[in-house]
Structures are given as C-alpha cells and as structure tokens.
C-alpha cells in the first residue's frame, strides 16, 4: 500500500485509517465515496473510472502535502480506484489523522474538494435511459453530482 495511490482492486478503507493512526493522534476521519444507484430519479447501471495514473498519484501526494502544511500534525492517505465499479463500491477513500478533531474534519473535506477539481480521474456512466456520459459529473443530471 502506498499512502497516495490509484488502485484497480476493491478498496479496504481500514488499511488507510490504520496507516494514518499514530500515538499522538486523537482523531481519525475516513471519507469513502461510493457508487450511487439513484441520482434524481435516474438509475446508474454501470460506472467506470479511468485516470492518468502517474499524474493522478502525483496530484494526490501533492494534496497530502498541502494538508500537512495547512494543518500541521495531520497525516493523510488517499486512494482512488479505477476500472469498473458496482453500486455501493468505494471509488475514493481519504483518511486523515490529527491530534484534534476539527483539523481532521477540515483537512478531509479539503482533500475531496481538491481531488474533484484537480486530479486527472474521469468517470464514465451509463444511465438506465441508455445515455452515456463522460466528464464533469455536475452537468448531468442537472446540477447534482453522482456519485460522490
């Protein structure tokens, strides 16, 4: 396991939580983004992610570095899965530990926001109505992301 990685196999979130835990950490936040079946009444049948893998891993590590600078004392691990995913499966995991809980929440949310704006990973979805769509998930259906 690398602390910042793109993986093709199912993600075990606990490994990332264990990785960031240290004796001086009082708080661990673990975020998992899952493939969602329903978005505004449209059913997702199939979903696959692709990435520009070396650049994506470099960007994940950079986000981790930004976090350790902004919230000193935190430790972070992030993984994103690519390939075909089933409903409910984990696409992304973010683990952050810190001495105090506030930092662990803030840093974790910062990570997912940064991933969504900068890490070269793309989602391809096939909807129940037959349409297929690649790219910025905020565009369809309407203004809501699917999945997280």
């Amino acid at each position: 396991m690398k602390p910042y990685e793109i993986v093709t196999e199912p993600i075990d979130p606990q490994r990332y939580a264990d990785y960031v835990l240290r004796p001086e950490a009082g708080a661990v936040t673990l975020f998992t983004g899952h493939v969602r079946e329903w978005t505004r009444g449209i059913r997702t049948l199939f979903l696959a992610y692709e990435a520009y893998v070396p650049m994506a891993e470099k960007m994940l590590a950079r986000i981790g570095g930004e976090i350790e600078e902004k919230w000193p004392g935190t430790k972070t691990a992030i993984a994103h899965r690519i390939g075909e995913l089933q409903i409910g499966e984990i696409a992304v995991v973010i683990a952050v530990s810190s001495p105090h809980r506030r930092d662990a929440y803030e840093a974790n949310e910062y990570a997912i926001e940064r991933i969504k704006e900068s890490v070269p990973v793309w989602k391809k979805e096939i909807w129940e109505d037959g349409t297929e769509w690649i790219g910025d998930q905020r565009k369809k259906p309407e203004t809501e992301p699917a999945p997280e």
């Binding site: 992610y49 692709e50 520009y52 650049m55 992304v92 997912i112 969504k116 070269p120 790219g135």
Partner: protein, 77 residues
Amino acid sequence: MITLYYFAGLREAAGKAQEDADLAGRTVAELTAWVSGKYPHLPLDGVRVAVNEEYALQEDVLQEGDTAALIPPVSGG
C-alpha cells in the same frame, strides 16, 4: 518530437490514446491549436494541458521528449 496523450472523452473522439507530434519548441497554446486543427470535432472546452504530469500554462514551451496530456474536466471522487 513530443508524446501527446488523450484521455476519456477526448480519447474516444480522437480515436486514439496517444500520438507523437512534432511540437518541440512550440507553446502549450500552439499545441492546443494544433490539436484543434487536426481534430475539429474534439470538445476542447474546459480542457487543460499537462506537460510531464504537471498542469502547464498557455505560454509554457514544449521541449524535445516532453509528454503532454489533454486533460478534460475531471470527474473523480
């Protein structure tokens, strides 16, 4: 020569994942114009360019042997 990568919808629209292009010495803006000229149907709206796995500026100049990637709007997470 530089190596040019296409991802996601751009790969599907271009019909290829990568190609070599004689763009050493040209800027990132010129690279985009070259792609747009060769594949007029490519949706380049919101596309960023990465050079050697780092987001590049429009005025950055490509060097012999660089890898450049067209990065459509990302949708990870």
